[in-house]
Amino acid sequence: MDDPIMVEVKDLHFSRGNTDIFRGVDLQIPLGKITAIMGPSGTGKTTLLKLIGGQLVPDRGQVLIDGQDVHQLPRRSLFTLRRRMGMLFQSGALFSDLDVFENVAFPLRVHTELPNAMIRDIVLMKLQAVGLRGARHLMPSELSGGMARRVALARAVALDPELVLYDEPFVGQDPISMGVLVQLVKKVNQALGLTAVMVSHDIKETLSIADYVYIIADGRVMAHGTPQTLNVNDDAHVKQFVHGEPDGPVPFHYPAPDFFDDILAPAGQFS
């Protein structure tokens, strides 16, 4: 990759309790491109986004955004840096005391001095893009899961940030909204030239819009490359993942003792 780098993750180590989640991860997120992060459920993709956003502090290693070490910044500067980022949470995380319109308007109201009329135009534009302009008066509790996520997406890009972190933007969408959202992610990326990091399990959609892909498993980067090179990658792990096969070297199960031993364990020895 010869593109300038927006985010650089160097030798990242992170553990929760006794479980090591990352054991030396190195990533480079190129400026103005869509980088996808894929991997089995529970490998720490959400954790990685939170480390990049400075929510969690690594045990070792660095995250550099635009040359600044996120975890060395004082609180004030970290918040300033975050104004240039948008994040779509896996759970949506809409503010439950604000309606849809105000949720999307929130970043604009707190970070800009724009007049109300202009805020209204921007918010309606963003809501139109996710197909929810008509739902602007609903409260988050009145939305379906997929709708909430689309509102959260509109909020994440409300300020036209330079870097957007999407945590599973396509989950819970019907085929039509899925197609629209895929195009939307692509479009904001192209039109505004923003850098996107996208965690997703939807392989086909992801590979269709991503410029670069990292596959994470076992606390490490297992493979990386452009969608074309990954599609023809011969490694058994990569093949299994990219083609979604149940059998192969990547385990489907959370680490556990042998299934039969567990089922047949004599009473009194249950753990």
Binding site: G53, Q55, R82, R83, M87, F89, A93, F106, V110, H111
Partner: protein, 260 residues
């Protein structure tokens, strides 16, 4: 034995680190520049924390004043000193009962609500997403709630005292027949503004600080699960009540200890 010592040591360290975090948390959240936005947020919280607690405080104040007059009258009348009823009711309310009972009610009514609200925001990642938008939840969520609690408790305490004295009047004068003039004049003669009223208000300021601090910190620091929220809510009420009663003793000793 060694395990016992280790457990004790760990508990001590945990407690110390919690106190440290709570202190930092207080400092980070209360020192923020007032702004027009912040004022609106504060006003909203004054409504939720303060105005919504008025009813419970008024009703309790009224009943406590009435009970005081009833109990006080039966004792005072046996010494033939029933004109001193006004003095007795007013002093007990202003010095002790209004600050303490209002603070206990406040911990149950507003403190638990603050903890649960902030805790639920944490559990649904609203606090995290606010941080990612570049807004510090300490300033936006915690600070307005903190200031609202700190300021509304003294006001609630004054209301409690006023209604209590009126309740004492209803029972003492209207019902038991204490002479109206002596109820008020005895009160005026004996209640000192600085020694009694001001000290009562100072107590309620301290209680307001401590109760609100415990409530918002418990909410901000809890384990983000439904069980964590319920535990933290209980802890808020228990810790806040104990802190109020303990501090009341200390403050009373400092303020009135050398009077007699």
């Amino acid at each position: 034995m060694t395990r016992y010592i280790a457990t004790l040591g760990r508990a001590t360290l945990d407690t110390l680190s919690t106190i440290g975090r709570a202190g930092l948390f207080l400092i980070q959240s209360i020192f923020c520049l007032p702004s027009r936005e912040g004022f609106h947020l504060w006003l909203r919280q004054m409504h939720f924390v303060g105005v919504m607690s008025v009813a419970i405080v008024l009703v309790s104040g009224l009943f406590i004043g009435m009970v005081l007059a009833l109990q006080g009258f039966t004792i005072l009348v046996s010494f033939g000193a029933d004109e001193a009823l006004g003095q007795m009711v007013a002093l007990s309310l202003v010095r002790e009962l209004a600050p303490v009972v209002a603070a206990l009610l406040f911990a149950g009514r507003a403190g638990s609500a603050l903890t649960a609200e902030i805790g639920l925001m944490k559990a649904t990642e609203q606090l995290t997403s606010m941080e990612m938008i570049g807004v510090d939840p300490l300033r936006r969520i915690v600070a307005p709630r903190f200031w609202a609690g700190f300021i509304s408790l003294p006001i609630l305490t004054v209301l409690f005292g006023v209604v209590g004295i009126w309740g004492g009047y209803l029972v003492g004068v209207d019902w038991l027949g204490v002479y109206k003039g002596s109820y008020w004049s005895n009160m005026q003669d004996s209640v000192d503004f600085v020694d009694d009223v001001l000290n009562g208000v100072i107590k309620s300021l301290v209680f307001g600080l401590v109760v609100t601090w415990i409530a918002v910190f418990q909410g901000y620091d809890l384990v983000p699960t439904s069980e964590g929220i319920s535990r933290a809510t209980t802890r808020t009420v228990v810790y806040a009540s104990l802190a109020v009663l303990g501090l009341d003793f200390v403050l009373t000793a400092l303020m009135f200890g050398d009077l007699g």
